[in-house]
Symmetry: C2
């Protein structure tokens, strides 16, 4: 294998593939990146056996062939080189890199031993704009359960039907649901649970305003955008029927200024101690909510926020972290809270945008 290409391009492509590579002691080739010529392009691939990423770089191919070499060393080295032409050449299981005044030899492993990354077999799927998918995933991704005891909720529900894609995550204390509408209709409806890691990688690598093609196929999900493919296993199992817990009617409805609410929750949370517990008292007659936290060792804080309230008064406790997680994924100036009582779920959503809802369970009063 021998190819001449530009340092800047190679650096960019290596950054796309290298993130999923960890330190694998039992199977050292998993620490490596695969470089393989394909006609007039060099294919650059990585895999952690759950997720595989392929990307391509155009260059002057002087000799077909392939090699694998350690991802971190290769990236660190290429990142440090000047932005000039460089040559990559495979020789005796090493990669020889020449650029400007530099000549390096990086010890590699035979490409024949690199795990096979599955290929897309059918191309039937849906198409979404990269930026829209990226933003939508990021609004939901952090709410997935960190525990692996219920694998299905450790992932992200990714469910397409009739022109709408729903992206959902929950850890059973809170739930976020994002709906992407206006997708060009496809006759392939599907429902899959993405690994959280897969969703994170997508938000990282979908960096242009192109479209991404999404295909579900034999327990693998394929994402393909310009010059980059991500293939991942999906989580088996049934996603909980979360629709039933979303309240439809509310006895107390509030509209807050979002940033003011975030500030007051953050400041008050300093006094929430180990419980993370803050208390909201809704006072419709004063058009105010009192936010309060108290800890026997630290002290206490009280603050009041003006807001629009419809319905009846209420006192309710929340884990302040769950409130902030939801609020930080709402991009509107005003935010809606719908509640019924101190025990039932609250619904939080942006004003003027029906594509996102966030459900949070209150903390039972002591």
């Amino acid at each position: 294998m021998k190819i001449i290409c530009l340092q800047e391009k190679l650096k960019e492509k290596l950054s796309i593939v290298q993130n999923i590579i960890g330190k694998n002691l039992t199977l050292p080739i998993l620490n490596n990146i695969l470089l393989k010529t394909e006609k007039n392009r060099l294919k650059i691939s990585s895999t952690n056996l759950e997720i595989g990423i392929n990307t391509w770089i155009v260059g002057k191919i002087e000799k077909q062939g392939s090699i694998t070499c350690p991802a971190k060393l290769l990236s660190d080295f290429v990142n440090n080189l000047p932005n000039k032409k460089l040559s990559l050449e495979a020789k005796n299981n090493s990669l020889i890199i020449k650029c400007d005044n530099y000549k390096a030899q990086i010890k590699g492993l035979n490409a024949k031993d690199f795990p096979i990354i599955p290929k897309v077999e059918n191309k039937k799927g849906i198409k979404i704009n990269n930026n829209i998918l990226k933003t939508s995933l990021s609004q939901v991704i952090g709410m997935a359960s960190v525990s692996e005891s219920r694998p299905e909720i450790s992932g992200i529900l990714f469910s397409y039907s009739e022109g709408k894609l729903k992206i959902v995550a929950t850890d059973s204390f809170r739930l976020a649901e994002k709906t992407i509408s206006d997708i060009e209709k496809s006759d392939v409806n599907f429902s899959a649970i993405l690994l959280q890691k897969t969703a994170y990688e997508l938000t990282r690598i979908l960096n242009d305003n192109d479209d991404v093609q999404i295909v579900l196929n034999n327990n693998q999900i394929f994402f393909e955008s310009k010059d980059v493919q991500l293939i991942s296993r999906i989580i088996e199992g049934q996603y909980p029927n979360y629709q039933q817990i979303i309240p439809k009617k509310f006895k107390t409805e509030i509209v807050f200024d979002k940033n003011e609410l975030i500030n007051q929750v953050k400041t008050t949370s300093l006094f929430s101690g180990r419980t993370n517990n803050i208390n909201l008292t809704v006072m419709p007659e004063k058009s105010k909510v009192k936010i309060f936290a108290q800890d026997v060792d630290l002290g206490e804080n009280t603050t009041f926020i003006k807001c629009t309230i419809k319905g009846r008064k209420l006192e309710i406790d929340f884990n302040y972290r769950y409130l902030l997680d939801g609020l930080s994924n709402i991009f509107s100036e005003k935010v809606y809270f719908g509640m019924n009582d101190a025990l039932g779920p609250a619904l939080i959503k942006p004003i003027g945008d029906n594509s996102y809802i966030y459900i949070v369970m209150p903390i039972k009063p002591a």
Copy 2:
């Protein structure tokens, strides 16, 4: 105690004092900040028993008095408040803070139990511009020994005589010496070893273009600038007579482009493996230095750098980290290397600035 002041001012002053406060489980009051009225000002103090910091804020004093309260909670709370007037009031060993819509009560401890921070007894000392002292300390500070087995070199030599202040640090593998000249002459010559922590605090808190007054007194060193005082113990013991190891003559002298050298050293260092070892071959006949590193598992890199060479050829090994530490504290475009052989110390210094020298020991060839 009761005082009205501005949130922004209080925030700034808390950030000055709070850094030295750690988590002290045996003496909880050391986690606290002391607030104490002094005529028309509020004094804000912290101590870790080795270093004490005092600063002052002007406000409307409504009642004289004092209190201590947890540094982190107080800072976090004040940082989150809006930039408006706030009132601080001590009541039943708690600090009541009111600002805008917020009312907090932070549990404190009695100010009588706060350790006494020593006072400056005589005012004889030297005066240096804050920015000059700060930059000079930062060029030296990182070279002090991390080991406490030789306490005297775990600190920074701070030695004034005849209008010159020398700031020196070494870990016996390398040494940095900075000289500040043109100090207004004082009849008090002194030599002290600063704690590394004290030096770091000074670089953090000396933030304006004012002067700092420095006084040595009974094993304590005092730094006083506008509205801020730092008092620290010094390290007892004799600083090594380092002057004797500074070579005066060189058989090989090189002038490098500093940034190019840094880049090549960094890139080559990726192949230095666990030894951190890189090899320099000085080739006077080619006006080039070859930089090389090799590791049996990783591979190798060779690069050449053009430079001006006077004297004879030489092959010499360095720990690349020590080279980079020195180079990163040199601010000139060109950098001078003076060497004699593969075993003796090398001297590195900026071109056109005699105030800074960096001495580094080579690694013995295997």
